[in-house]
């Protein structure tokens, strides 16, 4: 069975399979593989079957929509009414929201099937999905390797077919990096394209909902559902309806297309196999008539630091509400003094990575450096905007290496290729472009101008069609 929304939609509507059969099929997959992979934090099986029934009713009355009966997994920082939403943290261990994120409402309107909540780095802080309080998520291509993060549960689950698509979130590469590590397709759309209401924030000016699927077409399908306007989010852009599949349905002409490459990213600290693989993608487009334009962007080397100084101060304020008295955490009173109680409970309930980032953020704020980082961010944004005024899209490796071993403390810079475009608020799409000699997936990243997701999908789709995919070793 080809695991794509596109195909499942056809099968469901033609009644080649029932929603219940499909749901059970995925629940079986989860039962079989998730113990090893650690993708899911919470699965409400009864509810899955109930949703499947409702979806079948809609299909039977010929009222099916894009996502009717489609099994989807949700990153655990996206609020789901009556289903625990933990952000991978002890602090929210027993937090069950009484509201849905806007995106969940949109999908529920179409009777999708929510398989469950997916593991993540605690409060989306990390790039390995090993900082979760609950469990470690593994890479389906090598169980000793990380799936990337922070949306590692979302990427690993799609890769291992524990859901057909998943929602995640991205602040500095949390969608594209795990998508690359797990050999799946991931998009971080333009900031403001999709409502953030109900997505537990890390850095409000960068956060964006992201999508992970098996192919670019499914991304287009999901974008068309999820980009519906939400008046609850002031920062959402008011746009006229976009046809995200425009350039897949009517393939874009590559001839004369200007593709920009930030050569710093291919020159610096980069794995040679990754470099070769990405260069072969560039060659593919070149041989089809595209013009490759090289750019130099020295500041890209500092983007990780700029990100740390810019995102973490926002993160500090967003984490301030977790004083231990609310959201299901059991507050322990150790002192008469309020501040001491708060300090004690935060020390108990936050993990090391979160604490580290709180300290960085606090330091920047207390020292008054935040405005400097904000200015650096503007410089990065400006440089990306300049490059994109001179070319149609940018292509670069999604990551400078493939998924690394869990507990490898030497790798801590895997967002260096993606974080710049995140700072610029640009849409960013990662698709698989090859495998290294150990069979680990390599990702290539397409970056376009604001709200040009359709164009990105169209261009990437042309290469995607030529790509021979290898199934994860977990299925071998």
């Amino acid at each position: 069975m080809d695991n794509s929304i596109y195909n499942l939609r056809k099968m469901l509507d033609k009644k080649e399979i029932s929603t219940k059969e499909l749901a059970i099929n995925y629940l079986d997959n989860i039962d079989k593989y998730d113990e090893k992979l650690g993708c899911y934090l919470d699965i409400d099986r009864d509810n899955v079957l109930k949703q499947a029934e409702l979806a079948q009713v809609a299909i039977n009355s010929k009222d099916s929509k894009v996502l009717t009966g489609i099994p989807i997994g949700i990153k655990d920082n996206i609020c789901t009414k009556n289903l625990k939403t933990t952000c991978g943290s002890k602090m929210l261990e027993n937090f069950t929201p009484n509201y849905n994120a806007h995106v969940i409402d949109l999908m529920e309107k179409q009777n999708f099937i929510m398989l469950g909540k997916l593991n993540m780095d605690e409060f989306a802080m990390g790039g390995t999905t090993q900082t979760s309080y609950f469990k470690s998520t593994k890479n389906p291509y090598n169980l000793e390797c990380v799936p990337g993060g922070s949306s590692g549960g979302s990427a690993s689950a799609v890769s291992a077919n524990l859901c057909v698509a998943s929602l995640g979130s991205d602040t500095g590469g949390s969608i594209t990096q795990p998508a690359a590590f797990c050999g799946v397709v991931g998009i971080k759309p333009t900031y403001g394209l999709i409502s953030r209401y109900g997505i537990i924030p890390y850095a409000d000016s960068l956060d964006q909902l992201g999508i992970i699927t098996n192919n670019t077409y499914d991304i287009g399908l999901l974008l068309s559902v999820l980009s519906e306007y939400d008046s609850k989010d002031e920062t959402m852009s008011k746009l006229s309806k976009i046809d995200f599949l425009e350039y897949i349905d009517k393939p874009i002409n590559i001839k004369g297309l200007k593709i920009g490459v930030i050569k710093d990213l291919l020159e610096d600290d980069i794995n040679q196999e990754v470099k070769k693989s990405v260069e072969s993608v560039l060659d593919f487009y070149k041989s089809n008539g595209a013009i490759i334009e090289e750019f130099s962007m020295p500041i890209i080397r500092y983007c990780n630091d700029i990100y740390a100084g810019y995102a973490n101060p926002q993160g500090v304020t967003n984490l301030s509400k977790y004083d231990g008295t609310k959201f299901g955490y059991k507050f322990k009173e150790i002192s008469e003094n309020w501040d001491e109680n708060v300090a004690y409970n935060r020390t108990e309930a936050f993990g090391d990575e979160v604490k580290k980032r709180i300290l960085i953020g606090m330091y920047v704020l207390e020292k008054g450096y935040y405005n400097n980082f904000s200015e650096f961010r503007n410089v990065v944004k400006k440089q990306y905007n300049e490059m994109l005024s001179k070319c149609d899209i940018l292509i670069n490796p999604t990551t400078n290496c493939t998924a690394f071993k869990i507990n490898n403390n030497f790798v801590n810079n895997t967002d260096n290729c993606t974080v710049g475009a995140c700072l610029a608020g640009l849409p960013q799409l990662s698709i698989p472009c090859g495998y290294n000699k150990d069979g680990m997936p390599i990702g290539v990243c397409f970056i376009g101008n604001y709200f040009q997701e359709a164009k990105l999908l169209g261009i990437a789709n042309i290469f995607e069609k030529t790509m021979q995919k290898i199934k994860p070793t977990i299925y071998a």
Binding site: P201, E234, D339
Partner: protein, 476 residues
């Protein structure tokens, strides 16, 4: 206080804006509702919930700025002010630090001019209810819109401080910006006060006195703090910059916390809220909605209605009263008598805090007309108005049950006079012999004779007539 010293006062005033809904969600702002009944994920700061600004609050802030002759900024935006406290749901307060909505204003008063540094919009915190054994938090107040008005340190007398606060409350009531209820906490005054050498431009170190719940407390706190600071200086010590409270019972201020020990507020822009962009056309539209202010109204009463300054002050000092006065004049144009009756008879029953003067205006006008035509004695007005205002009895019923109505029927009065004279022949003879003093006796007897009120002018005339006639008879 040392003769060479003078006090300098700056005020920080928090005024709750009279909007139906909270600043960033649609919860009600109504005062006095059941604890924690006006709450939602947004004002409780639940994870993922996003604020959305209430435009009514912006309009009221524009009005406040306009009344205080401020520059209304075309651009302003929101920041987060971080600190941990149980009544602060998000661990930060959304306020305007960097770019406030209004700046650089002034208010000219009898005792001097008060200069306004800024007015900014912010959300209120929840209310901690301290019981003997536990602390409870009522979140109904969390997220209620406030404006903070910050004056320059430019107030050099208690009189000016008092006049400023009183005027501000009154003007805000007139413009429906804030109901000005200090006792309910909808209008809160913080006092910044320092001592400096006369003739010197250098300000001394200030102390901030928080939570003054009445103008009386404000004045007492000024005295107490001047006393304390001059003591400190007299002893050769220096005043510490700190936040202090005021104890109503002891009449003294006490230290709450030192600024030196406290962490900063770590201000950072709130990216979830769009900047407030105000065009001049819009600002002018809102300014036009501001009704006539008390000072102008007073002048109008004096010039147009020829009401004396003291009376005009009384009328304008209560918005409800002045509206009632205006309404009366629309129905019957006798400003002198109406103002007289309101001020000297009605107001003794009227609580100063009322929002509307609840009295049947048609009955009131009828009453005025009866007084004007001398159908009713002014000395009975207090009683009649007591029934009308306090007991809500209609004028008809009041007259049915009581005898306030003056009889002017000459025949009826003559009958009474004649029977009194017949019954008091002795007295009549005394009068005839020249004892004019006895006239009052006849008046009294006539009034006693009936339970009706007799028009004294007519009674007097008839009595004089009849006594004169009788004089002739006795001669015969």
């Amino acid at each position: 206080m040392d003769e060479n010293l003078e006090m300098v006062i700056g005020l920080e005033i928090h005024a709750e804006l009279q909007t139906e809904e909270k600043l960033f969600c649609s919860c009600s702002t109504k005062f006095g509702a059941k604890e924690n009944s006006q709450i939602c994920p947004i004002c409780l700061g639940y994870p993922g919930a996003l604020p959305k600004v209430n435009e009514d609050a912006i309009d009221l802030a524009i009005k406040a700025g306009s009344i205080l002759n401020c520059i209304i900024n075309n651009y302003s935006d929101f920041d987060r002010k971080s600190y941990f406290y149980r009544d602060l749901p998000k661990g930060f307060q959304i306020t305007q630090m960097k770019n406030p909505i209004c700046e650089n204003g002034y208010l000219e008063l009898d005792n001097g001019t008060v200069y306004i540094n800024r007015i900014h919009i912010e959300e209120d915190a929840a209310k901690t209810i301290i019981n003997s054994n536990e602390n409870k938090v009522d979140f109904n107040r969390a997220g209620v819109p406030l404006i903070e008005i910050v004056t320059e340190p430019c107030i050099y007398s208690k009189e000016l401080a008092k006049e400023f606060v009183e005027n501000l409350i009154l003007m805000f009531k007139y413009a429906d910006i804030c109901n000005g209820k200090l006792e309910e906490g909808s209008f809160r005054v913080d006092l910044n006060i320092s001592l400096k050498e006369k003739n010197s431009k250098i300000l001394g170190t200030r102390a901030e006195i928080k939570n003054l719940s009445s103008i009386k407390s404000l004045l007492k706190a000024i005295d107490a703090e001047v006393e304390r600071q001059s003591q400190v200086l007299f002893l050769g010590e220096s005043v510490i910059q700190e936040t202090r409270g005021f104890n109503e019972k002891t009449g003294k201020t006490y230290s709450l916390r030192n600024k030196e020990n406290a962490l900063g507020y770590r201000y950072i822009k709130d990216y979830n809220l769009n900047p407030i962009i105000l065009e001049e056309i819009y600002i002018n539209k809102i300014k036009k909605e501001i009704p006539i202010m008390p000072k102008e109204k007073k002048n109008f009463y004096i010039e147009k209605y020829n009401i004396n300054s003291k009376y005009a002050d009384i009328l304008i000092n209560n918005k409800a009263v002045s509206i009632f006065f205006d309404d009366c004049l629309e129905k019957y144009a006798n400003p002198k008598l109406i103002s007289n009756v309101i001020i000297n008879y009605l107001l003794k029953y009227v609580n100063n805090n009322i929002e509307k003067l609840e009295i049947n205006i048609d009955d009131f006008i009828n009453l005025i007309k009866l007084v004007e035509n001398e159908n009713i004695k002014k000395s009975d007005l207090s009683d009649i108005l007591f029934y009308m205002y306090n007991e809500k009895i209609s004028l008809d019923d009041i007259f049915k049950n009581n005898n306030y109505f003056i009889s002017s029927n000459e025949d009826e009065i003559r009958q009474i006079v004649l029977s009194v004279l017949n019954e008091n022949l002795n007295a009549k003879n005394q009068y005839s012999s020249g004892n004019n003093k006895i006239f009052g006796f006849f008046m009294g007897e006539c009034n006693k004779k009936t339970n009706k009120k007799l028009n004294s002018k007519i009674l007097k005339n008839i009595l004089e007539e009849e006594l004169k006639d009788n004089k002739g008879e006795t001669i015969i």
